[in-house]
Point group: D2
Chain length 287, copies 4
């Protein structure tokens, strides 16, 4: 998109680094307290140019990045941060062709990043219980042209997911541990599980849930991005930063048989399997 | 890849979290100081299972993630960290269909992530001067099946790049400021520029270079990933972490005309444009 | 201590930044794999000089800092980090003349910093149950000349503390919440409470305990120190850092009467006070 | 200070964690938009009590901590952060009895912490060129009762310091590298040097200056404090934090003779000493 058309999203950046996302329409004007700019100055013209309001204030017209689109997305609730979305894509091993289940959809911030990553041959199945979020999500994805790559469900997941053998599954819900059985059932063998929770208490409860089921290679991490003032002769970090958004928890689906149990802590494994079965397995292995 | 075939890469994870990447071949064995596992136990069988050496030690067989493949890649030099690669993909706004120039290739760690992101319709053009790195990079990408999406050049970039109008360009070289003219020439209008440098001195010099040319929306940041011990009853961050890999610098190509100059700091703009041209432009704007 | 005497501690720093703490004694030699240095080269001579082993290796002889003494202290268990000790002194508002209770003593790492801070007119009362730690602590403090400012108890604190009206109290024990009643009883009104715990689960339990008692102005924080390679032309953070030592929890003792209850969360306050008393208090306040 | 008197500073903390520092005076009232509290309710009464405005709003009356006094100090310029002051005290090895030179005084934030640390037998010598800062500093230290332990100079330091053989010296000035000769001259052998600078460029220039003179054991670090929401059932870091205040640079004075030169990087050492002297020293050492 070097030359934007009517209907495209364009980013305007002011000299003091404020960012405005606008959808181009012939005859429309973008208004600010520093004056206005007509959409027709942008439509059909190369991007990367500086435009001026009638009061002489400059705005740089740019193609919006994935990061810009994510952060400026209309929302009903908190949107996932770009830093977290990027790490989720990496840890869930997503790329074109992969299939992913997500719950809840929220305003479709993460859905947008996931869909853009797995398209055109992959697919996202996203579940959301709240009707208002569902509608916002549908509109956001439609506006971004990504609905062909996403199946949106306005459904509760307490009954499970419709899909099986998906490559990855991500939970951004208040109590992800409630749905771990369903997550396990929907994933392919060795499939990628992920979840996002804001508090340490939720991390602990989720880890307990993962240890109670055949999940392995469990990890917990936080992503921090530290921005700098980009001034060559006075380089220094910004005074303040986002100190916390959420903890990311990842795991892999492992086989339900006894062998997989070795990935649980010993105590839990014994409780799950029963002393008899355990003794039998040990005997077989020693034989 | 729920069921791996001969030639596939598979990850073995030990109970103490050590990770081993192996390429499957009929009749081969994987050896460790805890005993061996035959490849034929893995080939054609579902992943996510636990395998045992003849001494009873357990290893979980998993599909390797993008993160695993990146970190275990054969290398001639330092490979980009997953955390940084993920943020680069986000900030350069990469997704299927995009075209990207990269220099230098190194061992193709970042190339791998970039190619996996833009395939099948996008393309990576990657430049590397060192013959040994070039050969390692070619082999690494071939082993991962990504060569169709990458053009590798064993060439110096002091003469510029062969491509024009690429969506994004990334420099991982010692002195990226030397090549900014060429980077600007190769990018499309509004295109995404990025670079990775380890020291603050390099950041300052690079920022000076970007300010001297028509680049805008400049930013500098670091990505930190803080891992936790995944123990539910004793949750705590790991004792030690990667404290620094590199600074990431991003910018956008803007038009070469006078309008774009408003994105430079005032002092540099005046020097670049000349007082006469500046006065003329001001006069026209006020008129 | 510009000129060290027999019995003083001196720090030797090698060119590759290794640090060795030695106690001076006439006739003794310090040995390393790079050769030896006689103590008599140091005794009675100015510090800040470079000494050479017979093989020509250089060592800088320095007065050890509080930080050096803390980190090189003989220990039976984990010693508090300097970064944490410094923040504890700040948050507990310690300075010459203050009285402080501490439990457990451990190897007296924090005791050393506390005693050095409040001496000569203040005092530290430190409790330790383990006899071996008690002996190490006594020896460490004696070696540093700080025993006059510390009362060491080889005692359990389940029965409470001997002191009353101390300015501050610090708990570095596994289950600090068990001793909050005793801590409250020993502190002066408005006195400073602090505790150090490594896991998030302990933080939560401790916060619950503090909310159940008349404590106010509660805070939780971590201190991170990020070291840099001190190379002017290639300035950059060190590759790795201490990512976690412990969480620090601070609070203030408040009066036991009903007024103080307003500092508890509403639910706990009502449970503690009883609905009748609450109603009566509300009535009085509205009157 | 369990029972405050007229003239004492007392901290009022609201239920929503706002903090107000007041100096007690018979007959005075403290006013807020939530109503007022008379000073006579506080004077002569135990601290740690909750007081109510006539509208029923609660405020906890506490003895202010070193941290509170530092952050609420009247100021003409940026005050050093508590986290940094605490680390400076640790790294400069300050305790009762030490002598310290400081420049510039600023509003005496750090001076306050230093004086409180070294009193009653130690002393701070603090230099400030700006008359307005000098006056604010004098008043701040007088209000805190610390003037007996501080000598304030309203003087430029380009001519050097009046003191010799001080234990430690700290520079919080724009161009600390200009004064390194004077700093070296004023410190005792092995004495502690420290400086605070906000930008990476300043760190590099300062490190170059330290390498050009007989300073050793050089280090650079940042201190980060990460605060948590103190809610036991929903424990999590605060959303935002102070991401940067300043870099701290520390070094030790070493002897001016040739031996000390071994602590410089080889290139600088040769330039400083001259090839002839170097050869002579090597010859002597090998002899």
């Amino acid at each position: 998109m070097s030359v934007p058309h009517e209907g495209d999203l364009v980013l305007l950046v002011s000299a003091d680094r404020k960012r405005y996302l606008i959808r181009l329409k012939h005859g429309d004007q973008w208004f600010s307290h520093r004056g206005s700019i007509t959409h027709d100055e942008i439509i059909g013209q190369p991007l990367g140019r500086t435009l001026y309001t009638q009061h002489g204030y400059a705005y740089l017209a740019l193609e919006p990045s994935t990061h810009d689109l994510l952060h400026d997305m209309p929302r009903a609730s908190q949107i996932v941060y770009g830093k977290d979305a990027a790490q989720i894509v990496l840890r869930l091993s997503l790329y074109p062709g992969r299939t992913v289940i997500e719950a809840g959809t929220g305003s479709a911030g993460l859905t947008f990043v996931l869909a853009r990553t797995v398209m055109p041959s992959g697919h996202i199945y996203s579940y959301e219980t709240r009707p208002d979020s569902f509608e916002i999500a549908r509109k956001n994805l439609d506006d971004l042209g990504l609905l062909p790559y996403v199946t949106l469900y306005n459904e509760d997941i307490t009954g499970g997911f419709h899909e099986r053998d998906v490559d990855a599954l991500f939970l951004d819900v208040r109590e992800p541990w409630v749905f771990l059985d369903h997550a396990w059932a929907a994933l392919k063998g060795s499939g990628f599980f992920g979840a996002l929770v804001p508090t340490t208490n939720q991390v602990s409860t989720l880890l307990e849930g993962l240890e109670d089921l055949p999940f392995g290679d469990i990890s917990v991490e936080e992503v921090l991005v530290r921005p700098y003032k980009p001034v060559p002769a006075r380089l220094r970090p910004e005074d303040r930063m986002i100190a916390h958004s959420a903890f990311l928890v990842f795991a892999r689906k492992i086989a339900a048989g006894d062998a997989s149990l070795s990935w649980m802590p010993e105590k839990k494994r014994r409780a799950y399997l029963g002393k008899q079965a355990m003794a039998q397995r040990d005997a077989e292995r020693d034989a």
